[in-house]
Symmetry: C2
Subunit: 131 residues, 2 copies
DNA sequence: TGCTTATTAGTAATCATTATTAAATAGATA
DNA sequence: TATCTATTTAATAATGATTACTAATAAGCA
């Protein structure tokens, strides 16, 4: 029998509160440092475990960049702009997605040099192999 | 004085040839395994170093997924579809970029469940701080 | 052909993340 | 409220991907 009930621990609450309080996109390590100020005995593994769970349950999204994962608890549909110089990840609230002439465009955040668009789903092969 | 001349070594050539020959999106490890069949003494570090250089000079693009980096030498503008079930990364040649109603859409590759759009460039802050 | 410097193989080190485990605790139930 | 049990925790070891280091090799220009 599988019981799969998520429990709201103080650790998870503090992690979620922290994520809700920032408009940056912190890594697990940064979250750990911040959260440790309120809960000094928390361990980095706990931060990772909770982030994984929150990701799985759709409460946070993640942005991979240069080998590390950055987190975002803002679930309103938006995109991201990453500064190739300082590494900052900035929310990008564009209404239109005409990507045809976007390269070189000046936006309110900065100048777009490139972009990456990745779709996720289930391929036909996997779909047809389902039991 | 800075000299920055790239040399075409046999290792680099074989890596590029391999990437040009596939329509999959191999990781450094997979590339290493493939390339080793032609050049048995090649080392994994050499593969990584060359991929890094090719990336820097714009000859390959990379797709990060679940902690590993996948490579693509096809420079024609296209996107990617990642199967959340089998992990396969498939080229996605969509002509339109209307992302508004894309979730749930059935495509010739599979069913889209989500997507990620990331822009890269230089933020205003970094631009203005330039000397 | 010789010279200079980028590149290599081999290996150690690093970084981000996950696994392991015994103890603690959330939250359901008596 | 006390009890119970599966989930979560802290601490730490382990893993996986990637980078750094170093002496030897080899592009490719003069």
């Amino acid at each position: 029998m599988i019981t799969n009930k998520q429990r709201l621990t103080s650790q998870k609450k503090i992690i979620m509160d922290y994520l809700a309080s920032v408009d940056t996109h912190p890594s697990a390590e940064i979250i750990y440092q911040a959260v440790k100020r309120k809960l000094p005995q928390i361990s980095l593994g706990t931060v990772y475990r909770n982030l994984k769970q929150l990701k799985k349950s759709g409460q946070v999204i993640h942005i991979p960049y240069r080998g590390t994962t950055y987190f975002d608890a803002n679930l309103k549909l938006h995109h991201h702009f990453i500064c190739l110089n300082c590494g900052r990840i900035i929310d990008f609230w564009s209404s239109t997605q005409n990507l045809n002439n976007v390269i070189g465009k000046q936006t309110d955040i900065g100048k777009i040099e490139s972009y990456k668009l990745i779709f996720y789903g289930k391929c036909h092969k996997c779909f047809s192999e389902e039991e």
